[in-house]
């Protein structure tokens, strides 16, 4: 079995490549032309395909002999238009190329950012309401692009009758990516912790990658949309303490009750910022909610559908994130290949 992985050298992508290899799946890694790959330590068996989704004319060739596409590529920096062009128009070009191939199976990396947190109460699961048009356009470039990427993908799938699995990870964390937007607002070394007892919908990058590799091979994943979180999530205060201890970054933490901060943001928005074009995300109610609203998160559907449990528990994930670095990729996988990883 051969998988084509886009965004293969990204934070999640590099771990997905490792997880696929560990399951004995051949990997064709689609990376941008100028990507530096030396530090990833990929074995020679990884077939590197260099192309930019925004402009390459070679994309149909990337699908030769491919059984499943894992589409992880997204532009996460730059302005709104750059993100839309890279993530959405890039997906259109990629799936156009797929339509000319024999590959009929795809796993899309979507995001929690497609959910409308503002209208969700209590539990956010796969049945939560998604952002609607035109409200989606009041959100940031990342949310707009990820929402549209899923929309475009579903249209292609419907038109061509492909098998689709949509995975929506929460906040993905791991080595060098320990700080999360859910932690509130950082001022230099100091933190304004909004809703210190709120739980974070989080998934460690290696656990998350395991779900992607599993979804690529497991027929039970077909046609499913699954949220990817490791469990109910740590509380903001706990995780921030662990992050600061682990990263050795000193600083003060000032806790603010969620309701107080939410009221201030909403008041500021209706009085001053409604028409503003350049306001920090945290001062826009919908974006504030998407980062900080205290909801319950669960992975019941993921567990039940794929019989999945995270390969690493929270303590192990902390050690893998902040402990001494383990040698890259070539090292044996932390779980037996060919089986659904579980602890």
């Amino acid at each position: 079995m051969r998988a084509l992985v886009t965004g293969a050298n990204g934070f999640l992508g590099r771990h997905v490549v490792d997880a696929l290899l560990a399951r004995g799946i051949e990997v064709r890694a689609l990376v941008r032309p100028a990507a530096r790959l030396e530090a990833l330590g990929w074995p020679p068996s990884v077939d590197v395909f260099r192309a930019d989704l925004r402009s390459s004319r070679e994309l149909p060739r990337a699908f030769e002999g491919v059984d499943v596409l894992l589409h992880l590529a997204a532009v996460v920096s730059g302005g709104e238009d750059a993100q839309f062009a890279g993530t959405v128009a890039g997906t259109e070009r990629l799936l156009d190329a797929m339509a000319s191939s024999t590959c009929r199976r795809l796993v899309l990396c979507s995001s929690f950012s497609v959910y409308d947190y503002s209208s969700t109460t209590r539990t956010l699961d796969e049945d939560a309401r998604l952002h609607q048009m035109p409200d989606i356009y009041s959100l940031g470039g990342y949310s707009i692009a990820k929402w549209w990427q899923e929309r475009v993908t579903r249209r292609f799938v419907e038109k061509h009758g492909w098998d689709l699995t949509v995975l929506r990870p929460g906040f993905i964390w791991g080595r060098d990516h320990g700080y999360l937007a859910a932690l509130g607002q950082q001022f230099g070394r100091h933190h304004l912790v909004i809703g210190p007892l709120t739980r974070i919908p989080m998934t460690h990058v290696e656990n998350c990658a395991d779900v992607f590799a599993l979804a690529a091979v497991d027929p039970r994943a077909r046609g499913q949309t699954l949220n990817v979180v490791d469990g109910p999530g740590e509380r903001v205060w706990t995780y921030l303490s662990d992050h600061m201890r682990g990263s050795g970054e000193p600083g003060w933490r000032l806790p603010i009750p969620y309701r107080l901060a939410s009221a201030v943001v909403r008041l500021a928005f209706v009085t001053v910022f409604r028409q503003a074009t350049k306001v920090p995300a945290i001062l826009t109610p919908r974006k504030f909610d998407a980062m900080l609203k205290p909801l319950r998160f669960e992975n019941r559907r993921l567990r039940e559908t794929l019989s999945w449990t995270p390969p690493f528990n929270y303590r192990q994930c902390l050690a893998r994130t902040y402990g001494p670095a383990s040698p890259p990729a070539a090292a044996p996988a932390p779980w037996p290949s060919g089986t659904a990883a579980s602890t």
Partner: protein, 351 residues
């Protein structure tokens, strides 16, 4: 009046946001090669229809005005097709890749009785307009010299210097900087008129996909001289406009709202620097506040584009004189042509 856009990228969104506020303008259609990009713009700006083929759009919608907001090398054909379809054309700068293409467009516009307008948005920012007002009222005196210097870091990986996907502007003579020449030339033309001669220096300071990252030019024009420049290395980002009159001088940063004047003062000469400083300080503080408030408005740094579009649509409706005339476009582009480098790469230095 029915407006349509070809190209739904970053600058198109500025056009759309403005058009949605103009009275008597109906956003009839938008076109982009990417269906999702076109459809998203249509949803967001309440545009009646979206297309991926511009000819199909022109045929189906028959717009009165077409805005061409695609990358520059595609402007010529799209503008030509729009003129042929009987529409006035507002084209983003640079209007065409070469002067010959521009002449062909102007010729077609004359034949079809339509207008061709190039977007010189910074000419319609508050600062140049206020300097013009003082010139017209006589307090500024005749302009002898103008300096325009854009300091902008365009060497970051996400834009013109993208190492993964070559930016379309790199195909222009002069590369990415050519994208800014119409700004420099339109402001020079505004204050000192059509050029007679020009001398330029094109160079490259840093390693990047750009053929050039620095440009300086000196222009002798009908009513004075101009010193024009673009620097990718000088920081922080700024857009300096300095106008030297016979009685007054003005200095503005067009990325902000900063504008200061230095003119005759009824104080003893030794006290002039003191009062100048006070006055300038006051103007800069006022501008700092205005720049902050501008962020809460809709147009932001594109205030000039909004002004230009409002004036253009008003003139089209009244059949009065356009804010950017065709002779204006030709004169600015003659200057742009004179500023372009003779080689596409810097000449190798001899050891």
């Amino acid at each position: 009046m029915k407006a349509a856009l070809i190209g739904a990228g970053q600058i198109a969104r500025q056009h759309l946001a403005c058009l949605n506020t103009l009275p008597g303008v109906e956003l009839a259609a938008i076109c982009d090669l990417s269906p999702a990009t076109a459809e998203a713009a249509a949803e967001r700006y309440r545009i009646a229809a979206w297309f991926t083929d511009h000819r199909a759009m022109l045929e189906a919608v028959r717009p009165d005005v077409v805005h061409v907001t695609t990358p520059p090398t595609s402007h010529f054909q799209l503008a030509m097709d729009s003129l042929d379809a009987g529409a006035h054309v507002i084209v983003e700068k640079p209007a065409t890749s070469s002067f010959e293409e521009l002449e062909a467009l102007v010729q077609r516009a004359r034949e079809t009785g339509r207008h061709l307008i190039e977007d010189y948005n910074y000419v319609f920012n508050h600062a140049p307009l206020e300097i013009l007002e003082r010139m017209e009222s006589g307090q500024f005196g005749a302009v002898t010299h103008v300096e325009v210097l854009i300091c902008l870091d365009i060497l970051g990986p996400g834009g013109f210097a993208d190492p993964n996907s070559p930016h379309p502007a790199l195909k222009l003579a002069g590369g990415a900087i050519a994208d800014f020449l119409p700004h420099l030339a339109s402001l020079a033309h505004l204050f000192v008129g059509p050029h007679r001669t020009a001398k330029t220096v094109w160079s490259k300071r840093k390693d990047s996909p750009l053929p050039f990252d620095e440009f300086r030019g000196v222009v002798e024009a009908e009513r004075g001289t101009a010193a024009l420049g673009f620097s990718s290395s000088a920081q922080p980002d700024a857009f300096w406009l300095r106008v030297y009159g016979e009685r007054m001088q003005a200095s503005a940063n067009l990325f902000e709202t900063r504008l200061t004047f230095d003119g005759p003062r009824k104080v003893p000469k030794p006290l002039r620097p003191f009062f100048n400083g006070l006055e300038e300080g006051k103007a800069i503080r006022r501008a700092a506040l205005a720049t902050l408030l501008r962020k809460f408005g809709s147009s932001g740094a594109y205030e000039g584009l909004w002004e230009l579009l409002a004036r253009t649509y008003r003139a089209l409706a009244d059949e009065s004189a356009l804010p950017v005339s065709v002779s204006n476009v030709l004169a600015v582009n003659r200057m742009v042509e004179a500023l372009k480098p003779s080689e596409q790469r810097p000449t190798e230095k001899q050891p």
